[in-house]
């Protein structure tokens, strides 16, 4: 009896195995392509040069529509005057809201907002971080502007000595309940205390810009003269003569903003190729070579009590007498041993799953077969006999 079930099982396995290639057990009919950033390159760590002898396999494909600027639209309040930091000062009144401006991506700018209706005496100096374009946001940034709205609540928070952070991000589809979605803004004052709006926005989408503002006055005159400052007879501080650029947009003096730092360290999420000795080519000093692009090996760099490297010859002119110079570091440290084997696990969730390459094609054509007498001709193509009657194929009169 058991042989019967063994044979039956064998037949089932053979028959089912012919119809299944194993993917049906693990696949759910879904395929997952790599992220958009990876689709533009061969992959992480595979597009660099070969093992020291080959040039770059293939340069990353050119981004055909890659903008270097993000257009920020200062939605309001209406009439707010927007200026920004430039070399040697601030350029004022460069824009009057509502207005828009193209800021170079990957940079941080210092803005100057003044003339806010209802808050005429308030001048705030927020920082605007314009993040680099990401493959997820390139289409949006090349066709849309980033709305930046400063409302009454933000101004009240600033006047109340609070720090306001506004994060403009493009939400992922899973966080969009309706098709009518748009770029969203996350404000720190609307979140629970301790919640970082940048981290929250990064979880829900791709950050495009961050605005941080407080009530710090960056142009406040120094009320107390520093020690050693020359004073006038009346005790006031002597104003030193210095060049200070002044740009006023209302007088047609326009000046582009000066970046004060980078913004957004991510580029596309795909790490560059890791290679020993840098990206050099044969014949060119690329890596660290002793005596070429680094000090000669063995050059003493340890300091001595006289500030010079190496053994000292004191007194000068006398014979070398110092035979031992010891500096002991008795600091107790516990920083672990150097790592001899490094392991980094990276994983996409869900994993990359593509249809398997085609390895078999069956191309078959079936042609109809007709017997004599089964073939008909349309009236206009009927072969005519000598008397005009129908003449079947093969029986036409020869010319």
């Amino acid at each position: 009896m058991k042989y019967y079930f063994l044979a039956l099982g064998t037949v089932v396995v053979v028959c089912v195995g012919c119809a299944m290639d194993g993917q049906q057990l693990t696949k759910k009919g879904e395929f997952h392509a790599p992220p958009a950033a990876m689709m533009q390159r061969p992959g992480p760590m595979v597009d660099g040069p070969g093992p020291g002898v080959l040039p770059m396999m293939a340069p990353p494909p050119q981004r055909p529509f890659a903008l270097t600027t993000s257009q920020v639209r200062f939605v309001g309040p209406d009439g707010m005057k927007v200026g920004w930091q430039v070399p040697n000062g601030y350029a004022e009144n460069q824009l009057v809201a509502p207005a828009r401006y193209n800021f170079v991506q990957g940079q941080t700018y210092r803005l100057k907002l003044a003339g806010i209706p209802g808050h005429e005496g308030l001048t705030i100096y927020p920082t605007l971080k314009v993040y680099p374009a990401h493959p997820n946001t390139e289409a949006y940034l090349s066709h849309n502007s980033l709305p930046l709205q400063i409302n009454v609540e933000d101004l009240e928070q600033v006047e109340g000595n609070n720090f306001v952070t506004k994060v403009i991000y493009l939400p992922d589809a899973r966080y969009q309940e309706l098709a009518v979605a748009n770029v969203e803004t996350l404000v720190s004052t609307r979140l629970d205390p301790g919640v970082d709006p940048i981290q929250e926005a990064d979880k829900m989408g791709t950050i495009m810009a961050v605005l941080e503002m407080g009530n710090l006055d960056l142009e406040m005159p120094n009320p107390v003269a520093p020690q050693g400052t020359a004073l006038n007879a009346d005790g006031s501080e002597v104003q030193q003569v210095a060049y200070r650029a002044a740009f006023d947009g209302e007088q047609g003096q326009m000046m582009p903003p000066m970046p004060i730092g980078p913004a957004g360290q991510h580029v596309n999420g795909i790490p560059n190729a890791m290679m020993m000795a840098g990206m050099g080519l044969p014949g060119q000093p690329a890596g660290p070579i002793s005596g070429v692009n680094m000090p000669v090996w063995g050059m003493p760099t340890t300091g001595t009590p006289i500030g010079l490297p190496g053994p000292t010859h004191l007194p000068y002119g006398g014979p070398a007498g110092l035979k031992s110079h010891t500096v002991r570091n008795l600091t107790k440290t516990d920083i672990g041993k150097p790592v001899d084997h490094m392991l980094i696990d990276v994983e996409h969730e869900p994993g990359i799953s593509l249809p398997h390459p085609v390895k078999y094609v069956n191309y078959k054509e079936k042609h109809p077969v007709y017997s004599p007498g089964e073939v008909g001709y349309p009236a206009w193509a009927q072969p005519q006999g000598a008397d005009g009657a129908y003449c079947p194929p093969g029986q036409q009169p020869q010319p």
Binding site: A33, T69, N136, A139, A173, A179, A181, P256, L354, P355
Partner: protein, 256 residues
């Protein structure tokens, strides 16, 4: 016939750019796997179409841009310094696989408004020889799309050629079929189920900045071809030579 074979589809995706969708290909369920979607960076789908051999690098595909009522459609021949202004509906031949930035102005619904949509052809039509101008790819921009772009939202549309055996007969003589999709859906895959994706049209609210111009805004640039003047009706006004060949000296500078 053009309308019958030129179905229109669209994914009106207001502002949605997603990373999840960009990270997932879609199995259409019809034996087709679409590794990209409408969210790939502009130009990538066209480049992949060229690499796949869907069209030659010098194949011009006539495209007709239709507006809700009237207006001016400006094509740019290679560079933004060579605008070609045409009255809507405007038709011009565009290269497959390249990105084109357009300018739409003089809309009576938006006085003074300027819109800068882009068209990316990912495939071409195959009309009878010599009749390509009679069967252009029709890109129709609707009023609600202009309203969305004017409010800072982004519209992404996928125009596809409908498969004959999937044509719904009640739409043979009616309006073009427009299908709204959720942001997470792959519009290219959906269009692939119903036919053959031809073009990706994107439109938002960004306009050129006079104070800080970004030349990348206009894209890499590609030539256009104007041939049949009468096809676009008597209102068409060319700023080129009568033969339709673009002459740089005949065009005005762009409004920047």
């Amino acid at each position: 016939m053009s309308r019958a074979m030129q179905a229109f589809v669209a994914a009106l995706l207001w502002g949605g750019i997603v990373s999840v969708a960009a990270a997932q290909g879609t199995n259409t369920g019809h034996g087709r796997y679409v590794p990209i979607d409408q969210y790939v960076p502009p130009g990538i789908a066209g480049q992949m179409a060229l690499q796949a051999g869907k069209a030659g690098p010098n194949d011009f595909q006539p495209v007709r841009v239709k507006l809700p009522t009237t207006g001016t459609v400006t094509f740019f021949d290679g560079t933004p310094q060579r605008p070609v202004e045409l009255a809507a509906p405007a038709q011009a031949g565009l290269l497959v696989g390249r990105m084109y930035r357009l300018r739409v102005t003089n809309l009576p619904e938006f006085p003074g408004g300027e819109f800068y949509p882009s068209i990316e052809l990912v495939d071409r039509l195959h009309p009878p020889p010599g009749q390509a101008e009679r069967f252009p790819v029709e890109v129709e921009l609707f009023p609600e799309e202009f309203h969305g772009a004017d409010n800072g939202r982004m519209i992404t549309k996928v125009v596809y050629l409908e498969q004959p055996n999937l044509v719904q007969t009640q739409h043979l003589h009616g309006e073009k079929r427009v299908i709204d999709l959720a942001p997470a859906q792959n519009a290219l895959a959906e269009a692939d189920v119903l036919g053959r994706p031809i073009a990706i049209v994107r439109m938002g609210g960004r306009t050129p900045d006079v104070n800080a111009p970004d030349w990348q805004f206009w894209g890499p640039g590609a030539p256009i071809r104007l041939t049949n003047v009468s096809i676009t009706g008597p209102q068409t006004q060319f700023r080129g030579s009568p033969r339709g060949v673009i002459q740089p000296a005949n065009f005005t500078s762009p409004q920047r």
